[in-house]
Amino acid sequence: MIPLEYYIYLSSVMFAISLTGIILHRRNVIFLLMCIELMLLAANTNFIAFSESISEISGEIFVFFVLTVAAAEAAIGLTIIVLIYRQKNNIDIQELTELKG
């Protein structure tokens, strides 16, 4: 049986990686979407680990909803990216500079 701490280490590393990814990566929007996905999965890992260790079901139910929401979020994000690609022929975040001030 793997101790609870290990799961928490895993989830916090996942969260830290995805957050640094979002802060440092300034090119492709798809990468940012993947980082956001990873952040949600880090939270899911926490929920499942805690739920298992205290034998309480609501955490696992939470995970179902989070997965659904993540799918909806990815759908909307990709739609907006398609929209941008149609207008600019690339999805480089550096070239989105029309709104400034």
């Binding site: 956001i36 939470f62 990216i81």
Partner: protein
């Protein structure tokens, strides 16, 4: 725990209506364009009636403890629906007819999300409410498919918003690990016990900071405010009026709920956070708004400053402060809806982008210019209008708990704020118009804008009409 769907009846009805409108809109694509605004008006009217009807129910938790019902939730939902209805009346026929159905359906779904947030009693309903509120708004921002700025604003808003909800979710997962439950009451009890035992577990402070960060993103407070001006500028006006107004009510509701109900034991932490972030929002929001030439962007920065004042009200941590914050928010929403409504009405003829586009408005349409004058003076916080009283209540609540230096800074920044509102007034009244033709606007919309401005004057003379309810909401 009472099993009953009655407190959520209004949400259920609106969900039914939004799916009906979606169905009608897709089946009879062009022919039914006229009936859709009427259906929306009908659903908002019945929604308000249902909320008034459910107000009679005993307060408490419903739907297996997922749904709270008390005076605060009823008041906020009522205000939310009334403001949303006013927005729908203003945007009637102003939305491009090819995206009319999408606009109404998405806006209705977003309103349902806000109502779920307002009455959430567990973190699950809170998270689902936030997502149901935000996802349609990201789409609404991108609704204008030909306009390049629109999709750029949408992707910026989407990335910021999605990161904020993911951060909040991580905070919730830590809280779940500490307390083994996701409902507010149990979490609050556990935190109280933990602190009483004096256990050196700082995980709950981390969880609080994660949740506060997410709230800062959603309210556009200072370190996290960068999206607000971009999104205000980039989205079509009918979306800007929506996203600049009603979501703030729902986020205020969850902020007040979480801080007062779930984290009362960590009051030192969140009070300091709110004070710091509030005062910096006021300073940076007002100073950045000074140099703007785009009027939507200017209003975006002024929104940052106004949210700073509202948060300062919460930071007083007294009943007086909470009700002052709610009063500030509701009056701010009346002003921001009025100002964007005027811009929407003028947009067809003037194509509003910069402040200069309003040149000489007074000689072309005295009534609209006059209403805008009242609204702008109220935003600036000049005495006979309600904006002054709202600021006064917030700062008075802060003074009674003894933050004199903060109050002085906030006052100085309010003076800075007056400058840029006066600049708009100067352009409207003292510059010559480029064209001299009169503005043509539907009379009922013109009257609605005038009423909007008069309400500000009326509330400024009789604040007790609104303040009474704001106080009642936080009495318990």
């Amino acid at each position: 725990m009472i099993l009953g769907i009655m407190p959520a009846i209004s949400e259920g009805f609106l969900l039914l209506m939004s799916t009906c409108i979606l169905l009608l809109g897709t089946v009879f694509y062009q022919k039914q364009a006229k009936i859709i605004p009427w259906l929306v008006n009908f659903s908002m009217f019945v929604g308000i009636i249902l909320i008034l009807y459910s107000a009679e129910l005993p307060t408490g938790l419903y739907l297996h403890g997922e749904y709270a019902h008390n005076f605060l939730t009823v008041l906020l939902k009522l205000v939310l629906l009334i403001f949303a209805w006013i927005i729908f009346i203003y945007t009637n026929k102003e939305v491009e007819s090819s995206t009319c159905v999408e606009f109404y359906v998405l806006a209705l779904l977003s309103i349902i999300g806000m109502m779920v947030m307002i009455s959430s009693a567990t973190f699950l309903t809170l998270f689902l409410g936030i997502e149901l509120m935000s996802l349609p708004i990201y789409t609404l921002v991108a609704l204008d498919k030909k306009y390049q700025q629109s999709s750029e604003a949408a992707i910026k808003y989407f990335l910021m918003g999605a990161v904020a909800s993911a951060i909040m979710l991580y905070g919730i997962s830590i809280l779940y690990g500490i307390s083994g439950s996701i409902d507010y009451l149990t979490v609050q009890q556990t935190l109280k016990n933990l602190l009483w035992v004096g256990s050196g577990n700082y995980a709950y402070t981390f969880a609080l900071l994660f949740i506060l960060t997410a709230i800062g993103f959603k309210l556009a407070l200072v370190p996290y405010h960068t999206w607000a001006p971009d999104v205000y500028q980039g989205s079509p006006l009918s979306t800007t009026i929506f996203l600049a107004s009603v979501p703030k009510l729902a986020i205020f509701a969850i902020t007040a709920k979480l801080l007062i109900e779930v984290f009362p034991v960590l009051v030192e932490v969140w009070q300091v956070w709110l004070l710091v972030i509030g005062i910096f929002s006021i300073i940076i929001g007002n100073l950045s708004a000074l140099v703007q030439t785009n009027i939507k962007r200017l209003l975006g920065y002024s929104a940052v400053a106004h949210m700073g004042y509202m948060v300062l009200g919460l930071a007083a941590t007294t009943t007086e402060g909470y009700s002052a914050g709610l009063f500030y928010l509701i009056t701010y929403l009346i002003m921001i809806i009025g100002i964007f409504a005027t811009l929407i009405l003028l947009d067809k003829q003037l194509s509003i982008e910069h402040i200069q586009d309003l040149q000489g408005l007074n000689s072309r349409d005295p009534l609209l210019a006059g209403s805008m004058l009242l609204i702008l003076l109220s935003m600036a916080g000049l005495p006979p209008l309600v904006g002054f009283l709202a600021k006064l209540f917030v700062l008075k609540a802060l003074l009674t708990v003894g933050y004199i230096k903060l109050v002085i800074v906030a006052l100085l920044m309010a003076v800075v704020g007056v400058c840029y509102y006066i600049r708009i007034i100067k352009v409207m009244y003292f510059e010559e118009p480029l064209h001299t033709d009169l503005i043509t606007v539907k009379p009922y919309k013109r009257i609605l804008v005038a009423i909007n401005a008069i309400v500000l004057l009326l509330l400024g003379l009789q604040p007790v009409l609104l303040m009474r309810y704001c106080e009642m909401a936080f009495l318990i």
